[in-house]
Structure formats: structure tokens, C-alpha cells
Symmetry: C2
Subunit: 417 residues, 2 copies
């Protein structure tokens, strides 16, 4: 059987199962979550065995140590997975929520209610916990899920996805609602993007290669792609606070999308500020690439090339520019930012309000680290990804972002004149 | 200058002007609307002259009478346009609206606020009023607009779009925020869809050819495409009401997307019901294409082919099927409907609730005509189109659907642990 035949048959089963899941009551879906948490704990020996095999293959393929770390499971990570699913069981069910309700002069009553999107494909890389998180979130929001993980985690992810199916079955729902794409061919992604009748949305979580692979997708995307995040240290910044925020934004986890890549500093405070921040960054191993004025202030800074301002380093590297005004900072963010997360540090309320108004990013910060752009940190209790889209969902996505709505229109025989 | 060079330069100017417009206060945008209404009235002689030239060219090209009717302007239609714009001025401004606000345990305050989408391209066909409606709605919601109308209305639309620019200029906003694509080449549409950095969303309002032209768009679409709408007459229907609803859904304006294309009738009431409805439809010129049971009841019905159930006639033609149960009707709608508008006529509250729950369409009706799927009828005061998408917006779109949101995150130095 060809991959296409196999995949399309499976997607047909997902669609049918998703229709049943869309009608399921919260209580039944939550019982499935509780069963899933239990299964993750029950099967931990099997899961660790499969994961050990994945790790061995990955090691032989020569992946990096950081990659192996993301791929690896242990008892602690499995327990965290199980608890995460129990947390999802406690979240309110978005499905069926009344968003608005009004009456028209002709007597028609209109009710806007949340409904599942339908079938959601999640394409992700090495971390096996995404299989459980994404799968459980899709199920809780009443959607069918098509999960496609990195090829290095195939054994682990296949087992985990199977547990979701088993948990659905245990509570009387169709296990086919969650389908794991076990075929590691790139062709599978190409097939998914070509079938809008089978898949309602693709959530891709990955880098440039995935972005490239999903160009010209006939299926709408809710992408979790790149973040070129800025922090602007205003002339009226509390410099102690600014040092802490910038250090955190760059160093707490440089490999993620909400880490700072470009630092802008107002000329009036640049000498004092950089004299304090630069040594701390440097001590933490951060390479600084500066504009000429930065290089004049920080002797060990390298000269930034034009491309540096548009590069997502995802690494211990930072581009730094001295600017002469708030306006210049805002214009710089508009030109070089990716619209994910940008921050101002200032004690000047007017400057803060102007930055908030004029910076058009999914999350705009005043006096806080851009690292808070995250579903858990926003209090969503879970995370499906951070949308870099402008439509449907922007920024951190929780359960609600996995739903759409429909209008119920209730009449007593009304016709249109 | 090539079309691409010209278009991209214009889109760059739209983007800059849209940034200014995004920051404009309601009062200034509303003054532009008032000026626009005044301009439509002031320039009516010029507009009618341009329209007469368009009509003459269209006539020579041999278009249908219905087409000419949609294209034609007169004093009455111009006055309706002006009043529509004044109505838009009175609508609440969605921009800046607080959608949600909460505080995190770490003291961060998160505020979700509505913001414009950015630059919206609207691609439409012959009716010149769409130029004014779509342009004015985009402006009111703080967006730049790229307008591309049918080639037959080029002179009329060009003038109308110019009036929007003039009205912006009169109140101190940038006229470049609204750009009219005067080049009738199909290539223009292909260029628009290839530049997601220049256009944030395309709203296509048209038929199969436009749908085809926009396949593989790199820019997200909020399409207003086809509608295959059903009415299901339940065994517990009030048959008087059902006759009125069905006649209205089919005949009040058969050429639009919310008109009924497929009628389902419960077997228990089919003889009485069809005996009353069929002669009325027939007298109104409607051709009935029925399943075998329908044909047995309605002697002048033609036999429906399998393809009839999936065809959007947009004409005085109706496919009719007798079904044995509510479940069969719901399954039929899932299989053949386009998810735009579907109705049940019934006095049985349980059947109504089940239809509402299980039919997954943008608008689901109980005891009313599907023809109410429309921005004005929903009370939105205006209409940008009726989305046949599942994401971002579904069903009738008003001003809000032309916005997205951002999160403002306000701290006192918080960093992520």
C-alpha cells in the first residue's frame, strides 16, 4: 500500500472519530485524560525501553548532546508528563461555551458557541512530551489529532501516541481520533499539506527546514516558527532592573523562540548600562555583536554585520545597537523583529504606553523578560505552541485556540424579505 | 515598469500608511467616513459617467443582463452607498477594545487588546459597491486595503477607490492606505498571493475561477466561496412554516451563497409537504431534481444525478431527497453540505437541539431561512463577506473579523526562573 493510500485511509478514520469526539461531554474526555496519566505510569518500563532504543540510534547517527537531552525520557520526565495530562483534565472545556448571544428585531435569536476545529495535524521535532501534550490538548478540545514527530523519537512517540488511543478506548471513545504518522518519509508532510479536506489546520513546531517544507500548504497553518525578540532599554530605564531582564531574556534558555536576539539601548544610558550588562553576558559565554557605538563602549564586542539584526541565533550570541530615541527603537523593531515578543524597560509611563501602542507584536512587554511568552506562564495551564501567525491565534496558544465557533440561529418561521 | 515592481512599490506604501492608520483614533477614522459619504454624493455625475462607460464596454463584451444589473449604478445606489458609509461611521471601533485582562501570581498583568490585522487584500467581482464597503470597513478597522475588482468595473471602481483616498487625506490620514489595483491582468492576483510580507490576508469573494487562481496562496485566505445549503423538513415540522421557509430559502435570491440548494424531507411528511411546496416552486420557475421517492411524489421532477447533491446551482433549480430519519439528514448534510448554512424545520425541541449540536456549519438554523446568513441580517451593521473558512472567522464577517489581537504584558522587573 502506498504511503498516500495508507495516510488518506487513516485520515478518513480520524475524521469520523473526531466527529464523535466533538460531541463528547467534558466528563468523558476528562476520564480519558485520567486514564492516559495512569497508562503513562503503568507502561513506564516499556516507554523507557523504547526511548533507550531511540537514544541509541540517535547517538549512532551522531546528533548533538543537546538533542539527546531533549529526546531522553526518565522516570521524572514521565511523571511530569502524567501530571501534565491530569492538569489538562482539570482545565475548563472550551467546547460548547457561549461566546455571545443576541436577539434581532425580527425575533431571531443568535448564539455563538465554541466548537472543535476538526482534525489538527501537529508536526514537531524531537521532544517526546509533545506527543502527549499536543495529543491530549487536541482531544480535550474535541479534535482529532494527527501527530508527526521527529524521526529520532519514532519508537518512543509511537508508544506514547498508542497510549492516547488506548485511553480513549477505555472510556468508550474511538481510538482512531489520534493517529501517529509512523512513516519517517518527508513525503508524509507533503501529503498532509495537500489535503485540506482531511486536515483542517497544521500546527508546525520547528525551524527553517519545516517552514520551507510547508510552503504553499493548501491546509491553513498555525505555525510556531521563529522569534527575533528585542529588548529596548530606554533612557528612563531602571538600570538594575534592565540588567536582570536582559540577562534573563538572553541567558535563561537561549535556544527557544522567546529568547532575546537584539538589544537596543538608548544612547543616554548606553555607557553605564553596557558597562554593567556586557561583563555579565560575557562571563556567561555570550558573544556580543555590536553597532559601532556599542563596539566603542564594549571592547570585546565584535562588529555586527547587517545580517545580524535579522538573525535568530538561538544561541549564546546577542546583537546590540545604540539608538537615539524611542522612535528609532520602535522603527527598528518594526523592521527587524519577527513580531513574537518585544520588550521595553522604562520608568517613563508615556514611553511605555507608546511602545505598547506602536510595537505590533503578539506579546509586548513593559519591564519584564520576553521569556514569559509561553502558555504556562500566561496561565493557560497547557501549551499547544506559540503562534507566529496574525490570524486566528497570536502568541501563546491554549485550549481555546484549538477551537472555532458556529452560530446557532433560532427562529419561529422567519424568512428574509 | 513591470507590474510586479509597480505593485510591490504600492504595497510598500500601503504598509506604511496602514501603520499610521492602525494608530488613528476612532474620531479621525469616522470623520474620514463622513467625508467619504459626502464625496460619493458630490461626485455622483462623474461616477455615473464612468459607470456608463463601463456598462457600454461590458455590453459590447456581451455579458449577461444580470451581470449588467450588478455593475450598474444610479442615483439610488450611490445614495445607498453613501448611507452605508455613514452607518459604518456609527459602528463601534473594534481597535483598542480590551478582550481579556488578568493577573499572574508573579504580578505580571496581561491585557489582550484588539488591533488591526495590517494589510488586507479584497478581491471581488462586478459590484462597484464592494469597493466602497470593503474599503471603508478596512479603514474603520485600522487596516490598509488593497482592492481588486472585476475588470468590467474598472473605471467606476477606480474612481470610487480614489474617493476613499481623498477622504483619508481630508482628515489628515495617508491616502496611500487604500490602493486600487487598476491593472486587469490575472497576474496581479498571482502576485498578491505570493507576498505574505506585503499582504496579511486575502479576502476573495468569487466563484470557482477565483478559488482556483488562489490555490497554493502563501498569504492566508478568508474566503467567501461556495455555499451548498440544506433545509431539512423534519417529521415534526409545522408544514405551513416549512413551505414559507423553503420557498424563501430557494427563491428570494437564488444567485447567492446562502440560498438553499438541497432540500431533505422526512418520509413521514413528504407526500403532504411536497404536494404543497412543489407546485409553488414550479410556478416560480424552479426546476426540481429529485431522488426516486421524490420523483414518485412530484410528477414533473427530473431524476437527480449523484452530482446534483454536490452542485451549487446558484439558480432556479433544487435537489430534493426524501430521508427516513433525522440521523440520515444530519449524515447527508455532513457529506454534501459546504458548511455555510443549514436549517431544520421542526416543532420537536429534541430534534432541533440534536441538529444544532451535530451539524457542523458556520450557521445552523432552527425554523428560519438560511438566507439570514449575512452581516446586515446578523446585526453587524456592515459586511466584509461571509467566511467559508473554519479558522479566524466563520460565517458573516463584520468589523471585528478584520482585527486580530496582541497581548500587553506589564511587569515590575519580572524574570523567568
Amino acid at each position: 500500500m502506498s504511503l498516500e493510500t495508507e495516510l488518506m485511509a487513516a485520515l478518513g478514520r480520524v475524521r469520523l472519530a473526531a466527529r464523535q469526539l466533538a460531541q463528547a461531554e467534558r466528563e468523558q474526555k476528562d476520564r480519558a485524560m485520567v486514564e492516559l496519566a495512569a497508562l503513562v505510569r503503568e507502561r513506564r518500563a516499556l516507554l523507557l525501553e523504547a526511548n533507550a532504543a531511540d537514544l541509541e540510534r540517535a547517538r549512532q547517527a551522531g546528533v548533538t548532546r543537546a538533542f539527546l537531552d531533549r529526546l531522553a525520557l526518565d522516570e521524572g520526565r514521565l511523571e511530569a508528563m502524567a501530571r501534565g495530562v491530569e492538569e489538562i483534565a482539570r482545565l475548563a472545556d472550551p467546547v460548547g461555551e457561549t461566546m455571545a448571544r443576541w436577539k434581532r428585531p425580527n425575533g431571531l435569536e443568535i448564539v455563538q458557541v465554541r466548537v472543535p476545529i476538526g482534525v489538527i495535524a501537529v508536526i514537531f521535532e524531537a521532544r517526546p512530551n509533545v506527543t502527549i501534550d499536543a495529543g491530549a490538548l487536541c482531544v480535550k478540545a474535541g479534535n482529532g489529532a494527527v501527530l508527526r514527530g521527529g524521526k529520532e523519537a519514532l519508537a518512543t512517540n509511537g508508544l506514547l501516541a498508542g497510549l492516547i488511543g488506548e485511553s480513549l478506548e477505555r472510556v468508550g471513545l474511538k481510538r482512531e481520533a489520534v493517529y501517529f504518522v509512523a512513516n519517517p518519509d518527508r513525503e508524509a508532510v507533503q501529503l498532509l499539506k495537500r489535503h485540506p479536506e482531511a486536515v483542517d489546520v497544521i500546527i508546525p513546531r520547528g525551524g527553517a527546514a519545516l517552514k520551507e517544507a510547508l510552503q504553499h500548504s493548501a491546509v491553513p497553518l498555525l505555525p510556531h516558527f521563529d522569534g527575533i525578540c528585542h529588548t529596548y532599554v530606554d533612557r528612563a530605564a531602571d538600570l538594575d532592573m534592565a540588567v536582570e531582564i536582559c540577562f534573563n531574556a538572553k541567558c535563561s534558555r537561549p535556544s527557544v523562540c522567546n529568547a532575546m536576539e537584539n538589544l537596543l539601548v538608548h544612547a543616554a544610558v548606553a555607557p553605564q548600562f553596557l558597562a554593567r550588562l556586557a561583563p555579565r553576558l560575557s562571563a556567561a559565554g555570550v558573544e556580543i555583536r555590536g553597532c559601532p557605538r556599542t563596539c566603542a563602549l564594549v571592547p570585546y564586542a565584535l562588529a555586527a554585520a547587517e545580517t545580524d539584526w535579522d538573525t535568530e541565533y538561538l544561541d549564546l550570541r546577542l546583537a546590540v545597537k545604540v539608538v537615539d530615541s524611542l522612535e528609532e527603537a520602535i522603527a527598528f523593531v518594526a523592521r527587524h523583529g519577527s513580531g513574537l515578543a518585544d520588550a521595553i524597560v522604562t520608568e517613563d509611563a508615556a514611553a511605555a504606553r507608546r511602545f505598547e501602542r506602536e510595537v505590533d507584536s503578539a506579546t509586548v512587554y513593559v519591564n519584564a523578560s520576553t521569556r514569559f511568552t509561553d502558555g504556562y506562564e500566561f496561565g493557560f495551564g497547557a501549551e499547544t505552541g506559540i503562534s507566529t501567525n496574525r490570524l486566528h491565534a497570536r502568541g501563546p496558544m491554549g485550549l481555546r485556540e484549538l477551537t472555532t465557533y458556529k452560530y446557532l440561529v433560532r427562529g419561529q418561521g422567519q424568512v428574509r424579505r
